[in-house]
């Protein structure tokens, strides 16, 4: 019964998406209100159907209804409730179903929130959204159907991949990733609509900006949560390995970030329209490429593990999207012609151009490095690798250059900079750069790039703080306001978008410095310890005091208790563990981490003797890693903060344009 109901809901969503997309395009082409009303209802209908299908699947997972093929595949009677629920996105079919859920929510919200505002773009945009939705509904209706009937109904299932049950972050990371990834469909729709309608004036910026900013915030959080998950679960003490799956999430983030910045140039200088639109189209295409990379199995070529049949189908969709984008751009090339040119020399728009060059260059480099082994293997038949050393070599200089631009850009004026302005932009903030580098000397930094990151980090911090406080200082001087009023009025209320942007910059500075420090300043050692033995790690002493076995319904864990001593005093107990899952031959380790303000003590058990008498311990001191997680929060907070202002401001703009339009009509009458 459940499988049949599920299949019906999926088919209904497919039908509504296909028909809705056609009606929406017709509504856009004929500018017909009645057609648009029909398309809108079908979009809501699609959202309702796909939400219901997801609800049904979650219910089946919780109720352990093994007659549903997906539940039989990933469910298990021994699972705790939260694992049952997150199983929804633990495997291919469920994750595509979940994709549909997120897309449905996005489409419905985008229509509700923008209804009555961007009427000229919405029909075409809805057409594009629903066409995308139709593709994903097609996947779950056909090649990746999660609601197949299983007969005879098995008594129990194997449960999801143990690595996914290992940490609560697995419940949080994927939803954020999907909110970011899927959300980039919305600006793609707006950009397509703007091109189709030949309307790339000021009106198209507002919906575009907010619709990139929201998924950008989610994607930023998601990427770092993925790194955090790797750090807390995989046990190698790092958070980023440039593996294809990580790169897949990083690529659209890079282009979306570039688009957020070039949109500012569009707003201020009326130029770079075509470029911004291209970046938005590319961001969406990169999410589809990323889905192909992670879902097709081609990147596990060493050990073909997740072979699935949907790879070619996604590739076809990617090709269609690429064709759509290229044709659309070529067709509307006349509306994209830029009228303004840029001034030569050092000024803010040149910094923006540099920013875009570097973001796109990094995208290109990561993309080339990720797919190159595939191409070589296809051409020569021999396997080769492009791994972390390559990416580090390429990304580090680009990252440091971006850090510098993040400082120098805001410090420079638009238009033309005088010599005095140039001097003010470069000299004073460098003082903080020197301070940061000096702190590095104090802590024994030896790496050239780390010094560079510290110096530019300090420089950029100065500029960022200066820019944050600028409106407040101006108000205090110009209007004689006290500090508090000036702060609230100038900084928070009136300059919300600007403040949000600089908060995001501050977060980014901390992230880059933390990455530089944590990747070059870590201490690590591997030791074999018998019960009661100690080993030193930096200023700490680690003492192994025995093991403990814990039994949970879905797994058995062996914990190794290690006391942390510092200066003759015990400061804590860390218990890295080995988890034994049913149907899983090898144990999976979970490291134990103790975070302090400046560093993490990171213990990972390499082996735990069955008698509990000895352990192999990989012990690390990772400086500043905790700062990455915190700073990402700050960065995303800045994004959300700016987003709130975009919404308020654009509703104001619409209200006034409406009044203007009404007046105009009245005047004619």
């Amino acid at each position: 019964m459940t499988p049949f109901l599920g299949r019906s809901l999926v088919l209904l969503s497919l039908l509504l998406a296909v028909v809705g997309a056609m009606v929406a395009f017709a509504a856009g082409a004929r500018q017909s209100r009645s057609l648009w009303n029909a398309a809108r209802r079908m979009a809501y209908g699609y959202a309702a159907a796909i939400i219901a299908a997801n609800g049904l699947m979650i219910w089946a997972l919780i109720a352990k209804d093994f007659s549903v093929s997906y539940v039989a595949q990933v469910g298990s009677r021994s699972l705790p409730l939260w694992v049952s629920i997150v199983s929804l996105w633990s495997s291919l079919e469920g994750s595509i179903l979940f994709w549909g859920l997120v897309l449905g929510i996005y489409i419905a919200s985008a229509i509700v929130l923008n209804h009555g505002r961007y009427e000229e773009y919405l029909p075409y945009a809805t057409g594009v959204w629903l066409a995308t939705a139709a593709f994903f509904s097609f996947l779950i209706a056909g090649p990746a159907q999660p609601f197949n009937t299983v007969s005879p109904v098995p008594f129990d299932g194997p449960g999801p991949n143990p690595l996914l049950q290992n940490h609560i972050l697995m419940a949080i990371h994927p939803p954020f990733l999907y909110l970011g990834y899927v959300g980039l469909t919305i600006p793609f729709g707006f950009a397509s609509a703007a091109l189709l309608r030949r309307r790339l004036g000021h009106g198209f910026l507002s919906p575009l900006r907010s619709s990139i900013l929201l998924p950008w915030c989610f994607l930023s959080i998601a990427i770092v949560l993925g790194g955090w998950w790797a750090y807390e679960v995989l046990g190698w003490g790092g958070y980023w390995a440039w593996d294809p799956v990580e790169n897949a999430s990083f690529l659209p983030w890079l282009t979306a970030t570039a688009a957020l910045h070039s949109a500012i140039v569009v707003e201020r200088r009326g130029t770079l329209k075509g470029w911004t639109v291209t970046l938005i189209l590319a961001s969406f295409l990169l999410t589809i490429l990323g889905t192909f990379m992670t879902r097709s199995g081609v990147f596990n070529s060493v050990h073909s593990f997740t072979q699935s049949s949907i790879g070619p189908t996604i590739l076809v969709f990617l090709a269609a999207g690429l064709l759509w984008s290229v044709v659309l751009l070529a067709w509307r090339i006349d509306t994209l012609r830029e009228d303004a040119k840029f001034e030569k020399g050092m000024n803010r728009e040149v910094a923006f151009l540099g920013n875009n060059l570097l973001f796109v260059l990094l995208t290109f480099t990561v993309l080339v490095g990720t797919v190159f082994p595939l191409l070589v293997e296809a051409a020569r038949g021999a396997q080769m690798s492009v791994g972390r050393p390559y990416f580090d070599k390429m990304a580090v200089p680009i990252g440091v250059a971006l850090l510098f631009l993040m400082g120098v850009g805001p410090a420079l004026p638009w238009g033309r900079a005088t010599r005095a302005q140039l001097k003010a932009a470069l000299v004073a903030p460098s003082a903080l750069g020197v301070v940061f580098a000096a702190v590095g000397v104090l802590f024994g930094v030896r790496n050239f790039w780390t010094y560079l990151a510290l110096f530019f980090g300090g420089y950029t911090t100065w500029v960022t703080l200066q820019q944050m406080l600028l409106p407040m200082r101006q108000r205090m001087r110009g209007r004689d306001e006290n500090v508090l009023t000036a702060l609230v009025e100038g900084g928070v209320r009136r300059g919300q978008r600007r403040l949000g942007a600089y908060i995001a910059h501050a977060g980014a500075v901390v992230i880059i410095i933390s990455i530089a420090v944590s990747s070059t300043m870590a201490t690590s050692r591997e030791v074999q310890l018998k019960n009661g033995e100690s080993a030193s790690l930096g200023k700490y002493n680690l003492r192994f005091v025995g093991t403990e076995t814990r039994t949970e319904p879905h797994r058995q864990s062996v914990l190794a208790h290690v006391e942390i001593w510092k200066g003759g005093r015990m400061i804590g107990l860390l218990s890295p563990r080995m988890n034994y899952y049913e149907r899983q031959p090898e144990p999976i380790g979970t490291p134990a981490v103790r975070t302090t303000l400046t560093h993490d003590i990171y213990l990972s058990a390499m082996n735990i003797d069955t008698t509990g008498n000895s352990i192999g311990l990989h012990a690390m001191i990772n400086p500043m890693v905790g700062w990455i997680w915190a700073a990402t929060g700050i960065m995303a907070l800045g994004g959300f903060f700016a987003l709130a202002s975009v919404r308020r401001r654009s509703s104001l703009a619409v209200a006034t344009t409406r009044v203007a339009a009404d007046d105009a009509v009245a005047g004619e009458a």
Binding site: L163, L164, H202, G226, A230, G235, W236, G237, A241, W242, D243, P244, V245, E246, E267, R268, R269, N300, H303, T306, K341, F342, E343, K344, V350, L353, L357, L361, F364, T365, V368, F372, V376, A379, A382, Q383, M384, S385, V386, G387, R388, P389, Y390, K393, M394, P413, R416, E586, M606, H618, R649, L652, A653, T656, T657, A660, D663, A664, G667, E668
Partner: protein, 179 residues
């Protein structure tokens, strides 16, 4: 990322015995890559050199993790072997060559700069040059006369556009401001 460790198990069983079952790699390494080029190393130099070289080798049973990073037991064995080779005085070039001969080019995380691999090294540089050239071309080549009103302050503040349009609509009856 997820698949990384699971798949490691399968290949581990297949490969660990086959390639490295027979003791240390040091004796036969000389037969493959010639006599050690450097002096034997000990102490912290040995540690740092081992880490540096192990970071360049791919753990064959993991997904892209280096031998230095991976907790898989095969990677641990390979790292031990790197350490022995470093201690015996083999140079980085020799050690990488030795592992490449045993496992194929696949084991090198940094593609060696030769043949078709040059593409992956040159592509970013090429991308940078093309990008820089494009930027150069959008920058104004002729100096602007000072009087031209193109300074930042003279452009219409985008926030004011709705108001401006309203005024124009009242005055001229159209947003564009032409009667």
């Amino acid at each position: 990322m997820i698949v990384r460790c699971l798949s490691s198990i399968i290949l581990l069983l297949l490969m660990s015995t086959a390639a490295f079952g027979q003791g240390t790699g040091a004796p036969d390494a000389a037969a493959v890559v010639g006599k050690p080029e450097g002096a034997p190393r000990t102490g912290s130099l040995l540690d740092s050199e081992t880490k540096k070289i192990a970071a360049l080798l791919r753990c064959p049973v993991c997904q892209g993790l280096s031998v230095n990073d991976s907790p898989a037991s095969m990677a641990v064995n390979m790292k031990k072997q790197v350490r022995e080779l470093v201690a015996a005085g083999f140079s980085q070039r020799q050690i990488l060559e030795y592992f490449e001969k045993s496992y194929g080019e696949f084991v090198l995380l940094e593609p060696p700069r030769r043949g078709v691999n040059w593409l992956v090294w040159i592509a970013p540089l090429l991308g940078f040059l093309v990008g820089a050239w494009i930027i150069r071309s959008v920058l104004r080549s002729t100096p602007v006369p000072e009087a031209e009103p193109s300074e930042a302050s003279s452009a219409v503040d985008p926030e004011l556009i709705p108001y401006l349009e309203r005024v124009r609509a009242i005055a001229y009856g159209s947003k564009e401001g032409k009667a």
